[in-house]
């Protein structure tokens, strides 16, 4: 965020549409929208150069509330539409708002292939572990045994962890944030835009109606400091209400230690490096969970460089056009096997 030096031309009003926001009172989506407006002010992107794309679901209503180009598409296909927008016009800043059902169930194929191609778009994955708009069915991120309207006896399937999919698809950027943590969520959005390539931001989002408090064990202020760790590039990975806990390497694994106990000092604590190409530690960080004695990682977990699909498509055309004399269809047709009738 320190690198932003754009003059402030647009405040949040520039990015807000005139539409009445229809999410339920208390829904985490309100906070996400606020953070996106804030991030836009920091980034100072011209509203007409922004394209907000979405699929179907509560989160996918978001484009209606942005004063940008917005396209509310069909269930699961937002990533494909966003790919088309970005490849057709690489100069646009393209944002996909989606949910755990939209992107990890019906749209799973487009989610992984968009990430694999590394199209330079930002994917805000609002994960509330439930289908909200269809009124309360379990989702691909619901925990095993989860009781819902479509699983009255509990589910008999294991969930996806979004970071496993994203990194399995060779993702170059993955961040996680908490809906009500406005500062860090805004920061994650800004870094997502600055990263060249597909940026996935998983927002732990609360559905106040159908899955209230699903992330409570992590995000409640009473114990958030002890159950989350905010990762910062180049800084020691420490956390806790007293900032006295740290992550160290323990053989093949990570371990939580208390600094000053059992002989561990601050020197032993690992420094976060989101920019290392090898994604094994990023995955380990991303999979940390309280039930295993770890804090949940918040912040930018992975942020590496890679070739962007939209730019490569453009470059290939530019390279060919520099070398060819063919400018029109007629030029091309006449350069092939033709004969003249006189």
């Amino acid at each position: 965020m320190d690198t932003i030096t754009n003059p402030i031309v647009h405040d949040t009003r520039s990015y807000k549409s005139d539409q009445y926001v229809r999410w339920c009172p208390g829904c985490g989506d309100h906070a996400v929208l606020t953070c996106l407006h804030k991030a836009m002010v920091i980034l100072q992107i011209e509203p007409h150069n922004l394209a907000a794309i979405s699929g179907i679901g509560c989160s996918s209503r978001l484009p209606y509330y942005m004063n940008t180009y917005g396209f509310h598409t069909i269930h699961g296909r937002g990533a494909a539409v966003a790919t088309g927008v970005k490849v057709a016009k690489p100069e646009l800043s393209v944002w996909l708002t989606t949910g755990d059902g939209d992107s990890l169930a019906i749209g799973g194929n487009h989610f992984i292939h968009t990430i694999r191609r590394n199209v330079d778009i930002n994917i805000l994955l609002l994960n509330n572990k439930i289908y909200g708009l269809t009124k309360g069915q379990y989702s691909p991120t619901s925990d095993r045994g989860f009781v819902s309207k479509s699983s009255p006896y509990g589910t008999v399937e294991d969930p996806f962890h979004p970071i496993e999919l994203a990194l399995g698809a060779r993702g170059t950027f993955f961040a996680r944030c908490i809906d009500i943590d406005l500062k860090n969520t805004t920061d994650a959005f800004v870094q997502a835009e600055q990263h060249k390539g597909t940026s996935v931001v998983e927002v732990l989002q609360n559905c106040v109606i159908f899955n209230d408090n699903i992330h409570k064990e992590i995000v409640d202020k009473a114990y958030r400091d002890d159950r989350t760790i905010l990762l910062k590039q180049g800084e020691k990975m420490i956390f806790g209400a007293n900032m006295d806990k740290g992550l160290v390497r323990d053989g093949f694994n990570l371990k939580v230690v208390t600094i000053g106990q059992d002989g561990y000092t601050i020197e032993d604590v690992l420094v976060h490096d989101a920019t290392t190409q090898d994604n094994i530690l990023h995955l380990k960080l991303g999979l940390m969970a309280p039930e295993n004695g770890f804090p949940v990682a918040i912040g930018v977990i992975r942020n590496v460089e890679g070739l962007c699909y939209d730019q490569e498509v453009k470059k290939m055309i530019d390279d060919v056009q520099v070398k060819t004399k063919v400018r029109t269809l007629n030029d091309f047709l006449m350069s092939g096997e033709v004969w003249e009738v006189k």
């Binding site: 004063n67 509310h72 598409t73 296909r77 088309g84 269809l329 091309f332």
Partner: protein, 614 residues
Amino acid sequence: MLEKIQVNDVQDIVIRFSGDSGDGMQLSGTLFSNLSAILGNQISTFPDFPAEIRAPQGTLSGVSGFQMHIGTQVYNSGDKADVLVAMNPAALKVNANQLKTNSIILVDTDSFQKRDLEKALFKTEDPFLELGLTTQQIVAIPITTLTKDSLAAFELDMKSKIRCKNMFALGVVCWLFNRPIDIVNEMLSTKFSKKPVLADANLQVLANGYNYGHNTSLSVSSYRVDTLQMDKGYYMDVNGNSATAFGLIAAAEKANLQLFLGSYPITPATDILHELVKRKDLGVKVVQAEDEIAGICIAIGASFAGSLAVTSTSGPGLALKGEAIGLAVMAELPLVIVDVQRGGPSTGLPTKTEQTDLRQALYGRNGESPIVVIAGSSPTNCFDTAYWASKIALEHITPVILLTDSYIANGSSSWKIPNMEEYPSIKPNDISLYTGDEWTVAARNEDNYARYWAPAGTEGYTHRIGGLERDYFTGAISTDPDNHQKMVDTRQAKIDRIADFIPELEVLGDTDSKTLVVGWGGTYGHLREAVEEMSKGENKVALAHFNFISPLPRNTESVLRKYDKIIVAEQNNGQFAGYLSEKFNNLPMIKYNKVNGQPFVVSDLIDFFTQEIK
């Protein structure tokens, strides 16, 4: 040297080259058809590939063919063959029932040995007698041996030498038809310009094939095919898929837009993808998507951002794209969806031809989802219909489905390279045409009811669209019942209105007869030939062939009402006939339907039409 014993002057002739996939039959066929075109014949060709990529050599499933129809008035690739070149027994067997009674069969005796006959499941040692080919004239030549002998002095491995045998066959055929081979020499020199040794070898074998016919005692009847003076200009050989790709490029050039294709490989549409992805020089952007749905959704995204957006597919893919087409209908975005129809349902007959996707194109979506449907009627007509599909999509801000089929997509004809200045202009109905006060996404052009397209990235026109119903006046989301009714009616009226912007239906053949043959799309060539043939006799018929299906041309009903009897001929179970019946009551309609994966047979059509007239 012996003379050919009989020379028949004919207006047209059908030749079929057939052999193993690796025998080079497609090349021989293409060279001969191009040669004929240069000499002033019309040509229509059709390659017949096996479904398997590389079936075992010499087996029935591995036979690859190339049929061409050459003459003065050629509308299709022809029915039965006058000349068959069969490079092995399997090729003979597969084509045996496609031969005229007095046809010439040229065979390579080197590949008609006992083992070759067994591979093709012959039970006796006389394949001709076994197949009942007793009236045909057999020309048996040891082509492989003579090819090897021709190249004795060449520094080539034996495999490469033997691969030249297709040129020997071509040489003999050129002699049979009195075709000078110097033009073929030029074509081969160009084709193998980077491999001069291969060029020389092919030229040598071609010449020796020609001279073999000239110098030995071949005694067969032969043909002299009439030629005519074609329009002056430059010509090329083009198949329907390439013509479709070129038509799209031409439209993008005319509209001054970026052409963008989102597509997923599927037979028989993939060659459109292949053709467009090569055209980086013309700035065409192509994304090979992860699936059919992504293919169209990526195209829709590109349309939202201001490209001439296209997706190409075949029937199964169109089924998968249905929901996304509905999105383009609802959001009102320009989009061209090319469906190269094949045999169905499900995977069906992927390499064969049908017209069975018409209803899917017209109706295969949820909700009232009106759309433009147009159909290409010949390989070269695909250029014009692709151009028209793009023009309508851009000027009326709507998705357009262009239906072609496997037959015209793979079939080819000689094509006069068009002068694009003669093509109508394409002026997208975008914000540049808007003259009102403050633009909104709901604003419509009064002339054609199209909304004004505002590509993402344009300053001053930010807006939100989507698949949800929106208010007629403001463009905001709306669930109001009256508004929905109004929007349903508006979307329909927008499509219906396009009838005022497309050409009227033409009637061909004997327009004064009492019977009208009706067809649409890729059956044009066969129907046209049948109608022309009948016009020479007592039983005359007229032909109305449709390119524009939804909406229909304005004069459709007045044309149909003129006739006492209407025969709707199509390669499905009556989809277009049903569509016409729904539009116009009590038409005196008879249906001719064939769904066997093969093109119509002209003689069958004539028999049926004649029967119905009597």
